[in-house]
């Protein structure tokens, strides 16, 4: 008793309005089919064919992907054919936003949807499971699905404004559903709620126009994507993570080197001597120190100037001269110290001593040439000069930290800018339209037991 039925053949319907024949591509699935000639919506199930809705839009919209196109969607191995097309619209703050939906069909594997807005594409399929926890959509918050957390993006009333081709359900221009989107780029979890009757969850996968064009074998190239779309993956997401990881490694290495450097620096004093400077003396106070040795490898050298200044200042011009090579490192310091009592409170300003570190001094025999100067009033100044070799320095470490941090910080700022542009289009953007949508939530309310 084998039931081998004949192959189901492709048929066409004749439009009672204009007489044109329109091919039916989804066999018995077609509930409605739009006349290719006059765009009337016809009852595909009725053997006599009746007009369900006459075409009433003045400006026809041509699908970017022609009906009848057959190809393989990115991520799939089977072929599907484009059988239906509709334009839907939401209105936010009195501005209409339209997007296009293509219905793709395979007689065994069923239907898929392809949505397009401003050159951004999503391959959409209905899902078999509801989101974790709260099974119904809402106007904010998150939903867990497929081990990922999706953030609420938008709740709006979507109105069908144009249809073409055929659909396995009743479709009319003017149909309305509540559409709720949650995003976890590159995926979007959406719910469509028909008041009191049905909630349908679907999952969209963000796809570039180029991939669609390639998969469906379309001529030319896909239109460029404009702006940032709700579930468009951020080009910075993985880069930012990688940059922070690399920066963390570099900082760890630099920190270890710095700690090692702090621990290994000898800080050996190679010269110390006290001099007296009397500014009232006319003669040149310049002097030259005895020769001292800086040993080891090139290292940082600290020169300390300790004075007994009392409400006066002094300047010291130093030159650290290598007696072997004649190489000279010149640097000028200024030390000032003032103190007093004003309104019963004592105050001080400045410091009696000064420290300077010369970053890299080669080993050798050195002497200091010292040229003090100061005010021609006040008492003579006693000052001690200490030279310490192989001291620990941290400036290189600070500079390294800053240089290592700049790239990830800049990229993080850019990533933040991308996310701001994404969320600016949502109910939760800075432009703030979440309150305006509060009355759009018919049937989208969470209503769990």
């Amino acid at each position: 008793m084998a039931d081998k039925r004949p192959t189901i053949s492709v048929r066409s319907v004749n439009c009672p309005n204009c007489g044109a024949a329109t091919t039916v591509r989804t066999f018995g699935h077609a509930v409605n089919v739009v006349c290719m000639s006059c765009r009337s919506i016809l009852d595909a199930k009725d053997p006599g064919v009746t007009i369900l809705q006459k075409y009433r839009k003045a400006v026809p919209q041509e699908p970017l992907i022609p009906l009848g196109t057959r190809g393989t969607l990115p991520g799939e191995t089977i072929q599907r054919e484009v059988v239906g097309f509709q334009v839907r619209q939401i209105t936010v703050d009195d501005v209409d936003y339209q997007w296009r939906e293509y219905l793709l069909f395979n007689p065994y594997h069923g239907f898929r949807y392809l949505t397009e807005y401003a050159g951004h594409w999503n391959i959409v399929s209905t899902v078999r499971s509801l989101p974790d926890g709260d099974h119904m959509p809402a106007n904010s918050g998150t939903r867990g699905f497929d081990n990922e957390l999706f953030r609420h993006f938008q709740t709006a009333t979507a109105t069908t404004v144009f249809v073409l081709g055929e659909f396995p359900w009743q479709v009319r221009v003017g149909d309305q559903v509540t559409a709720v989107d949650y995003v976890a780029p590159p995926r979007m979890l959406s719910a469509e709620v028909t008041a009191d009757k049905e909630v349908t969850w679907s999952l969209g996968q963000y796809t570039t126009g180029d991939e669609i064009w390639k998969g469906l074998g379309l001529p030319g190239s896909a239109p460029n994507a404009e702006g940032v779309f709700a579930d468009q993956p951020s080009p910075y997401a993985t880069v930012t993570r990688r940059m922070w990881r690399n920066a963390a490694w570099l900082l760890a290495v630099a920190t270890l080197l710095w700690i090692f450097h702090l621990g290994s620096a000898r800080s050996r004093q190679v010269f110390t001597q006290t001099f007296r400077y009397d500014a009232r003396q006319i003669q040149d106070a310049s002097l030259v120190t005895p020769i001292f040795e800086i040993d080891g490898g090139p290292s940082a050298v600290r020169v300390e100037t300790q004075t007994d200044l009392d409400n006066q200042w002094m300047g010291v011009g130093y030159a650290l001269v290598n007696d072997d090579t004649g190489q000279s490192f010149e640097f000028a310091r200024e030390v000032s110290f003032y103190a007093g009592v004003e309104d019963g409170e004592s105050w001080t300003e400045g410091s009696r001593s000064d420290v300077v570190t010369l970053p890299t001094i080669p080993p050798g025999h050195y002497f200091l040439r010292i040229e003090p100067e100061g005010e021609r009033i006040g008492k003579p100044v006693d000052y001690r000069v200490n030279v310490i070799e192989d001291v620990a320095t941290s400036l290189w470490y600070v500079v390294t930290v800053i240089l290592v941090m700049i790239p990830p910080i800049v990229t993080s700022i850019r990533a933040g800018g991308f996310e701001s542009r994404r969320w600016a289009e949502s109910d939760h953007g800075n432009a703030g339209s979440s309150d305006d949508n509060a009355d759009n939530d018919d049937g989208a309310e969470s209503d769990d037991d």
Partner: protein, 188 residues
Amino acid sequence: MQTVCEHCRSVVVRTDVDLKKVGVVADLPLEGSPIQLFTEGHYGDKNFIVAGRILYQYEQGTWNEWHIVLDGGIDGWLSDAQNEFAISFPVTIAKLPPEKQAALGKSFTWNETRFTVVSRTLAHYAGVEGELPFEYWDKQEVTFIDLRSDRRDFATLDYSDDTPALYIGKAVEFEELRLRNLRSFEGW
């Protein structure tokens, strides 16, 4: 049980061993399912064969409930709504909610699974064929309430009779059913 005669479209009801003709059905309306009588497939570790079907019609279109018989003679239902499939089995649970209480978005816990109402559909038979495990005759428009869980569980509350009937199972993909003896389509 009942069956539809292949040749004269008579509906025959088997009450004991005698078959008696209770009516004649019209040809099935157009629908696009790839499944047909005697299609074979797999569910879990069991094989099944399609023995009959009910085609339901509602305001948005049609869907099929294929009566399947699994290994061991277990009756089940393969639901096929535009190639979205689910397999379910009758379950006996006391105190099922009256139709009005099972509003869209309401949740119920059966067999330790939390189900939420995802659709409420008013439908009627548009046709039957093959063998059905019950007598369907003279049924009018009734409410079907579909529920899903967050783990692919699927349930239907059927308000055909005075007391609601519950079917529980899983949503399944075409590929995992591994169907054989499917219909063929021109150009595919």
